[in-house]
Amino acid sequence: MLRFLVTRLASACFAALLSSFVVFLLMRAVPGDIVAQMLGQSGSDRAAEQALRGFFGLDQPIHRQFLDWLGQVVQGDLGRSWYQGKRVTLLIADAFGVTFEVATATLLLATLIGVPLGVIAGIYEGTRLDAAIQAFNLVGLSAPVFWVGLMLLVGASAFLAWSPPFAYASPSEDLGDNIAIVVLPVLSLALLQAAAYSHFVRDCMIGELRRDYVKAAIAKGLSPAQIYFKHALRNILIPLVTFMGLILIQILGGTVVIESLFSLPGLGRLILSGIQGRDYPVVQGALLFVVLVAILINFTVDLLYGMIDPRLRP
């Protein structure tokens, strides 16, 4: 188990390193870097162009630039934004605070809605209730997240005469405003993920209830509640935890779109604006961060396995 964890972590880190390099190459391979953007179309001033390239280190060969960047990263320094001059680590910390809030609230809400729905659908397989829950799942999985967000905006404005504040406020600045601004993004993301959860849990539950030990438990005279919650639910915990990791990574991706819709200054917006402005240090830093978070989530999932199922302990 331990060896497995270490190998997985090592191969994930190798992939992260390689993907950083690919992003690095890709950004520098396309025409139109920050210097071209700064000088605009009129930029025929060769000397100024040279000087700026030198300033940003863009006159160095690519492998040199990458190694320099990597050397800094190893020391925990992601450089400074070329536009704002702020440390990339600070920009990421601020942005991640926003994304983290949305992601955890979404995960919580999706779990609270999705898991019970899935369990109920699984227990009542083949009934109308199951069909209704399945229909909900399919619609939730098919509806584009940002469209749900748009429709929630319309609905809130038309039926509640309410719309979220325009400017983002952190929970410490103004808790009321903060909740008001994250509630719609969280709801839109949670619909999809609750449907995904429910769909998954239903399949697990049905599979579990068909196993022999359930028949034995029925024969033994255990009450349905004991069978469902003490036996079946306990056995689907492992796939559930894996799935939770997947969902969390999905939510992380989903925030990119939803943050742009609701003007939340989170990680997704940081990446998007960084790419548009060719702010290489920001893009590289933020992407590396996202990849590391995904690796960390997967690693945690692997660790949790051991805690839930003693058979998998080292």
Binding site: A12, V22, Q134, A143, P144, W147, L150, V154, G253, V257
Partner: protein
């Protein structure tokens, strides 16, 4: 005693499946002959009729430059679904060929291809899509490329594990003993056995790729503006959401309906092939 439930079971169709089949038929018509359903031009601008709500003249209303939304959404069907279908086909051909070779041959090919695939899979799909289209710039070509890159690894994995499993079966051994070449065994024996898995993967991934396509369009990273595309229309509608909700409503509903139809179809296929 044959009740309604038995009939349904015999026809193999639940209400959801019947709905999905009907939707698939409708979308097939919209893709084939959009101009018959919506004869109006999806591009004609009429500023005097900007932002009109749905009416008998404009069933879905008009957008901010007075284009007929019914025509735009109907004509977008072919473009949006076509782009996704094309991108996934590219990913399927590339990923499956690589995966078949990697799974069957193993060794260095498998190792190198596996690491390349891991690189793409380190990112959540939407983020990989944003990075690729963001860096390369918007446009249909880059959108297809981005979707193809994002989904190639998933076809690779399916084809690789399929080929790996098949390569250990006794018919492969028998073919070797009979003196067939490795290439011939891979192409004539292994590939036909793995292909159904790849096709199933195509159907399963379609609704997901559709969501990513729409999201990229919504972020302004998709098809260039005047061309009708569901995601791009949604991007345009975003700015008028509180004054003209109808711009955003319809393309979203069409996205939902098509993703739903393909998803249900995929589940039926999964059950038929016994992989669910």
């Amino acid at each position: 005693m044959i009740g309604a439930a038995t009939w349904r079971a015999m026809l193999g169709a639940t209400p959801l499946q019947a709905l999905s089949a009907a939707l698939l038929a409708i979308f097939a018509v919209l893709v084939a002959v959009p101009e018959l359903i919506a004869p109006q031009s999806p591009l004609a601008i009429d500023l005097s009729r900007a932002l009109e709500p749905p009416s008998s003249a404009h069933w879905f209303g008009t957008d901010d430059v007075g284009r007929d939304l019914f025509a735009r959404v109907i004509h977008a069907t072919r473009i949006t679904l076509g782009l996704v279908a094309g991108a996934l086909l590219l990913a399927a051909v590339l990923g499956a060929s690589l995966g078949l070779v990697a799974g069957f041959a193993g060794g260095a090919v498998d190792l190198v291809a596996g690491r390349l695939v891991d690189v793409v899979l380190t990112f959540p799909p939407i983020i990989a899509g944003v990075v690729i289209t963001g860096i390369l710039g918007p446009g249909a070509g880059n959108l297809v490329l981005a979707l193809a890159i994002v989904y190639t690894p998933l076809f690779f994995r399916i084809a690789r594990s399929g080929a790996l499993a098949e390569s250990r079966r006794s018919y492969v051994e028998a073919a070797r003993a009979l003196g067939f070449g490795e290439v011939s065994i891979l192409l004539r024996q292994v590939t036909p056995n793995v292909l159904p898995l790849v096709m199933l993967q195509y159907v399963v991934l379609f609704p997901l790729a559709l969501q990513i396509e729409a999201a990229l369009g919504f972020l302004g990273l998709g098809v260039a503006p005047p061309t009708p595309d569901w995601g791009s229309i949604l991007e345009q509608g975003k700015n008028f959401i509180l004054v003209a909700w109808w711009i955003s409503l319809w393309p979203g509903l069409f996205l939902l309906a098509s993703a739903f139809a393909v998803m249900v179809f995929g589940r039926v296929l999964q059950r038929r092939l016994g992989v669910a």
